[in-house]
Symmetry: C2
């Protein structure tokens, strides 16, 4: 009988197959993905139909598995790494991030507690201080001297959720965790703009606050929250005996990268003792450049701040950075301490146990990929690439402005251009679908007010002038035929 341990992949096989996978990725990203359709062209069920009904009884050869990547998987990819990707926001990856994450896989440690891998915790805390410096975030968010601190979450959705939970708990005198919300006499209320990401509504639902108790505050003509309307809503809710607990301001909305006026919003939240969370999921990365830091004015009065290096900062998903100005309320709201997790380091009170900062217990060594990205590019490289993307978006904006059948829907913000066809929504939609059907580019859409608009989101890692120009040729043709 075969030794059980012989079922593992042996060292030399791992080395050989590992090199093959690295080479596969190098070829894919440099030579292949640009030529693949941006959106996958398969029909629902097509990929599944290529898979055997049952799992194999005997192990298979790695070569066959790798061949199936080309045969089965690649046709079913929508290629976010194709530089003709102009949809949603980018989900950028990079060489250093891939290799940092690979090292994390190879070490296979769990970072739930400081003691279960001190490097995992300490490098995370440190790199988030670095990142705060790089974005020039207010000093209150840095871990030294504290009590502020950063943490890596999976996504901005989770960041909004855990900060909302903390705000909920604080607003109920630290009792909702224990007794639930059914025991709270006054209704809790949260606030965000009507342009905020759907995850805020999802967080209000999950936290038991209820979507009906999330006020979606109206916006101005730039789609930014009106602080005066926020104030009115908060004061009216207080007058009716409700408890305002949480405001989420958005720096760079998903639809149009609108920037809520954080400083003015913070004046309202401070006055009423309401938690202010600032969600800069996409736009935050731009603050590596001094010329884009104005969007963060007022941030020193926020309770928490978040952005996603996994969007525009060349760090593989998942990598969300969240900072709080005071770690104590967050930890107090999320802590669990069963006997089997007790340890001397935690007891000493001198370490961070990140399990108490998030929904899951377990955690991967995600700081490695971020550390590698910051070191590989340096501040200089990151600024250079962000400026390159913004310049390409400026170029695109000028092309749209000069086109007889297209109009800018709202002034460009950073690297996103929202535009529409002069003949109205149906024409815009026909144009957009025509562009995407070519397979040679992809844009997504949104609605701004009542208007259906196309979103040209420029920022894929390897996008260059000729990609924007070739997209423009397609758009021009589709606009004329729409």
């Amino acid at each position: 009988m075969k030794d059980p341990l012989d079922h593992h992949m042996d060292k030399e096989s791992f080395r050989r197959h590992g090199h093959a996978v690295i080479d596969w990725i190098a070829d894919f990203l440099d030579d292949r993905v640009d030529g693949l359709p941006v959106m996958s062209e398969v029909e629902p069920g097509e990929i599944r139909s290529l898979l055997p009904d049952s799992p194999p009884e005997q192990g298979e050869r790695f070569e066959d598995m790798l061949a199936d990547i080309d045969r089965i998987v690649v046709p079913g990819l929508t290629n976010w790494q194709n530089p003709n990707w102009h949809g949603y926001f980018p989900a950028n990856i990079s060489g250093p991030a891939i290799l940092g994450d690979l090292l994390s896989s190879g070490m296979g440690v769990q970072g739930m507690l400081w003691s279960t891998s001190p490097a995992c915790t300490e490098i995370e805390t440190h790199v988030l201080d670095w990142m705060a410096e790089l974005l020039d975030l207010p000093k209150c968010f840095r871990s030294v001297p504290g009590p502020g601190c950063g943490v890596i979450q999976d996504t901005a959705s989770s960041s909004s959720f855990v900060t909302l939970l903390t705000a909920r708990e604080r607003a109920t005198d630290w009792k909702s965790n224990q007794h639930g919300l059914a025991g709270v006499d006054e209704r809790l209320v949260a606030y965000t703009s009507n342009q905020a990401h759907s995850s805020i509504a999802k967080a209000a639902k999950m936290a038991g606050i209820g979507e009906a108790n999330l006020r979606t505050i109206e916006v101005d003509e730039s789609f930014a929250m009106r602080p005066s309307s926020l104030r009115k809503a908060i004061e009216s809710d207080i007058a009716e005996g409700m408890i305002p607990c949480y405001v989420c301001a958005t720096v760079g909305t998903t639809s149009s990268v609108a920037i809520d006026p954080v400083a003015e919003i913070a004046r309202v939240t401070k006055e009423h003792g309401v938690w202010l969370h600032v969600d800069a999921a996409f736009a935050g990365s731009a603050a590596v450049c001094p010329e884009h830091r104005g969007m963060h004015d007022g941030l020193e009065d926020a309770d928490s701040y978040t952005f996603n290096p996994h969007k525009w900062l060349f760090t593989n998903f998942d990598c969300n950075c969240t900072w709080v100005r005071d770690r104590e309320p967050l930890i107090r709201s999320l802590t669990v301490m069963p006997e089997y997790l007790k340890n001397a380091a935690t007891d000493s009170g001198s370490v961070i146990d990140y399990r108490d900062w998030q929904v899951p217990l377990g955690r991967r060594f995600r700081a490695l990929k971020l550390w590698f990205v910051l070191r590989h590019y340096g501040a200089e490289g990151l600024r250079s690439l962000i400026r390159h993307h913004v310049a390409l978006a400026q170029l695109f904006e000028e092309l749209v402005e000069a086109h007889p059948m297209l109009e800018i829907s709202v002034p460009r913000a950073l690297s996103l251009v929202c535009f529409h066809h002069v003949d109205g929504d149906d024409a815009t939609k026909r144009m957009l679908e025509g562009c995407n059907r070519t397979g040679r580019m992809f844009m997504s859409h949104t609605r701004l007010g009542e208007r259906y608009v196309a979103r040209m989101s420029i920022g894929q890692s390897r996008v260059d002038r000729h990609h924007v120009e070739s997209a423009w040729k397609i758009i021009d043709e589709q606009a004329r035929n729409a």
Copy 2:
């Protein structure tokens, strides 16, 4: 001025550095990790003190970054991949899982919607059907013909949380998401055993139900939930006007791998229309072997089931598998549909959009690593390794039984042996700490009833008889000196 795109790692550099990282991992796992201290020996702050205060302005050489892995990171690792790791539960990795995940990094796709990478969704659904077959789970959980289906979550904590949210919403006539819990007259109650994982209490807190409304049901002498006590608690709560909404049964508790009697518990939950979630986070993997499937008796009456291939099934963290017998209530509870995510495939109703099954919006192509694990090992390889671990635990149990100063605390379950020193808690603690201080092994502890016990958890990917024997020598010596 340097071309912005030149800041990226070029293809040949990626290939070269990638090969170096693969070789580093091969050496680390095969030649180095066994000789490293199992628990890191650094003091708090030691790792941070090795890092520069500020992020670099210019990019650095990859060779220097990789050298810092050895200089800075490795001393700060607690080595879950050292085969002398007998703490907590294993967090196993494997060659095929590392390479599957590496491919996922290299493709860099987002699986939030079917349309944003059909292969990511379809392979996940399919592989979870495979896994259900491999564990011989009840057919109700398979996606074909449905309405059951599987999904990959990050951890069992998230699995418990999203199923509790669904139960909460169902028990409030689908109104708590909209109106929150403050509007619900009757108090919701959830149930689990007093041995359940801390994540259940955390879920009750996060969901706004409150820890005080989580009943921790008493256990029998094997530390398994007493169904008669569960029934009494539910009936008493109903009599007092409360609404029982959720029971979490544990198949393999964290402390001692106690198995709650699912079939008897299901009789109670069915009678009262309460959601039954079964958490087999660790133990579930053993069901690849027919001789261990008895623990799943009654599972056909559960509403949801979860286990973690990232513990004992050689699949890198994070990889939790969750199944529901009906996907509709889960999706209904977690769905969000802003304009910018609308697409034709979703509209057609013929595809799964996994964003509606989880807390975050974004998702990584995690199915690849699980697909590779199932194909590399085959059912045969997985069974062989699980049996190997259980046999080693049996061997260890016999050694403890024959030892004059040690006693088994509770009969061995699967690969976990709980034991204590005959001289009492202090002696057990001294023995445990003495063992761990050697750096040549690691066990963790728990309390069973009032007793402090050592947990010898055998199941690291590469553990073999000689590792158990060398641990035994250390334990024997420490027990005699305790």
